[in-house]
Subunit: 346 residues, 2 copies
């Protein structure tokens, strides 16, 4: 099969911009690259590998001329466009939450359940950013000593909300420094110099949709409906990288040394854990990197067979763009693109 | 007994300044007020109730002329001065961690264990700020349905470190906004736009001293050596007010409505819990207030008989100054000052 023809929908958004970088860095094989965005960006030009690409409208004809679509433009766009793409033979790697819990759509972190891409019907979902970095830190341990319960409290960067939220944090910070009146559009409360215990919207059980995603997506990715996860998702005035405090209960004892060894050996995970020299994962250090960083690994003193740890990752990279490109690589490796299947069948 | 003669040691520090405000606001009965600070502040003048007070050196003679000393100048100052104050008949309300776990020193949150002030031998300790707001949110529930385990992850303001840390956050923020090179003195890493999973120093078990304080002080305040607490203490770019995500396991079921009712009825606690209108406790809202604010109260979906909640309080007020003044009020009410005892005995 020739190199795939690729399209990015949402190319000018926070994730779209990083997708372009990651495709270039990983030298993703492409016959062609097309870019789509909302009407107000159409006609604009974006530079990729020194070449200008004009932003187009995403439609059936365009999808019929592509093999892989990265769609990162919000849930409603995904719900509208992904089925059109798939119906036109273009396999979708979708960043939104639209299809994640759909039983016909694989939800994939390639290091964990890459094989799940094989049963897709046109759409593969990229998990929520908070979920991905957590499961990357849990899976290497879970597969040797099953995890029963996870408590996770997050410290989430504003870039997870999108480019407008990054602007809002910058603008509010500037307004405070310069003593000007504060403006607010994206978040329900001031985010600068504050901590907002609301990420997305509230559900009936008092958890937010973000918190319930962490619970449900973990089960789907692990193929384990018994694992229990309680999250409090909090937005903090950080631009890039989510941090997470984890408290994890295992079936059997899990020595700290073994956990460090298992995590260090796992692809995509880097252990940074030397408290004596104040070495632990930090949002600022993780920004721009693809790995999930784990540190502060210690026996949890409040429960048997439990560990506490601190997990940090760039929410736009492993939390979104990098994981998406890795899914596309997995689709290529396993010859699992729609059009490849059609060719193979024909 | 006449109104007490009061001295504040550390009057120019972050907590000392708030102590002055709280004494004035609560109209704390005082025959006289003297202020002490480090040598570089001695001789300077501070305004209180429209009157200038000259900063003095703290010494045995001064303590012998006072009945209550509020000491908020760090652990080494407390270790050096508190015994001198007590030996000279001056009862110390100490904000530092120096004596908190000393079995001869009561550790008091007046709403919870105010009676403990009665057995002091000259020093009463104010708990760690992170502990105080947590136990205020737990006690109203614990006393009707014993708590077995607490997982708490904190979002702590820089003012907990002191005035220099507030300056560092402001300065780093300004440097970033103005595109200047970054400076750093107080924290081991940049605090602006970051989240530091280190508050104080590390102990042998991988927890920090701050995290272990939350564990041990809770047991001492509750008179309950069975309760288990696992904390991850994190510094965030917030100036005033600590936030905490709590996951609490009870002996028996604890309905959300009952928890709300018990918390609302408890003095010093305000429930802010209307997710539908994005109403929950926020650091910015709690700053400058004396109450502990509790919200996001929900059944924890990961364990039986468990609640999750979000607790916010001004770390300089209920976390330090206000609780200290309340202890002094308790000492007066119970006629438990050293000099009162001496008079009563004589």
């Amino acid at each position: 099969m020739a190199d795939p023809r690729v399209v990015i929908v949402g190319a000018t958004g926070a994730v779209g911009k990083v997708l372009l970088q990651v495709l270039e860095e990983r030298d993703f094989p492409m016959q062609s690259l097309r870019l789509c965005a909302s009407p107000r960006s159409q006609g604009k030009k974006v530079l990729f590998r020194g070449k200008e690409i004009v932003i187009e409208e995403a439609n059936a004809k365009l999808f019929s001329e592509c093999d892989i679509a990265f769609v990162a433009a919000g849930g409603s766009t995904s719900r509208a466009l992904d089925p059109i793409a798939a119906a036109n033979g273009c396999t979708v790697v979708d960043k939104s939450s639209a299809w994640r819990m759909d039983p016909t759509v694989p939800l994939v972190v390639p290091e964990i359940n890459g094989a799940d891409v094989e049963w897709h019907r046109g759409i593969v979902s990229v998990p929520n950013c908070s979920t991905t970095q957590m499961v990357m830190a849990l899976w290497p341990l879970h597969r040797v000593n099953p995890i029963k319960r996870v408590v996770v409290d997050t410290y989430q960067a504003v870039s997870g909300t999108g480019a407008a939220a990054v602007d809002e944090l910058e603008e509010q910070t500037r307004q405070i420094v310069e003593g000007r009146p504060l403006t607010r559009e994206v978040y329900p409360h001031q985010i600068a110099f504050n901590a907002l215990p609301q990420v997305e919207t509230f559900t009936e059980n008092g958890y937010t949709t973000e918190e319930m995603k962490i619970f449900r997506e973990t089960r789907k990715i692990f193929h384990d409906e018994s694992i229990k996860v309680s999250a409090t998702a909090v937005r903090v005035p950080v631009t890039v990288s989510h941090s997470e405090a984890l408290h994890v209960e295992f079936e059997r004892p899990m020595p700290v040394d073994e956990a460090r060894r298992l995590l260090s050996a796992f692809p995509g995970v880097t252990v940074v854990d030397d408290p004596a020299s104040s070495a632990y994962p930090l949002a600022l250090d993780a920004a721009g990197k693809d790995d999930v960083f784990v540190g502060r690994i210690r026996q949890d003193i409040s429960a048997p067979n439990s560990l506490a740890m601190w997990v940090v990752s760039d929410n736009l990279r492993k939390g979104a763009a990098t994981n998406g490109v890795q899914i596309a690589e997995e689709l290529l490796k396993r010859k699992a693109l729609l059009r490849h299947r059609a060719t193979a069948a024909g």
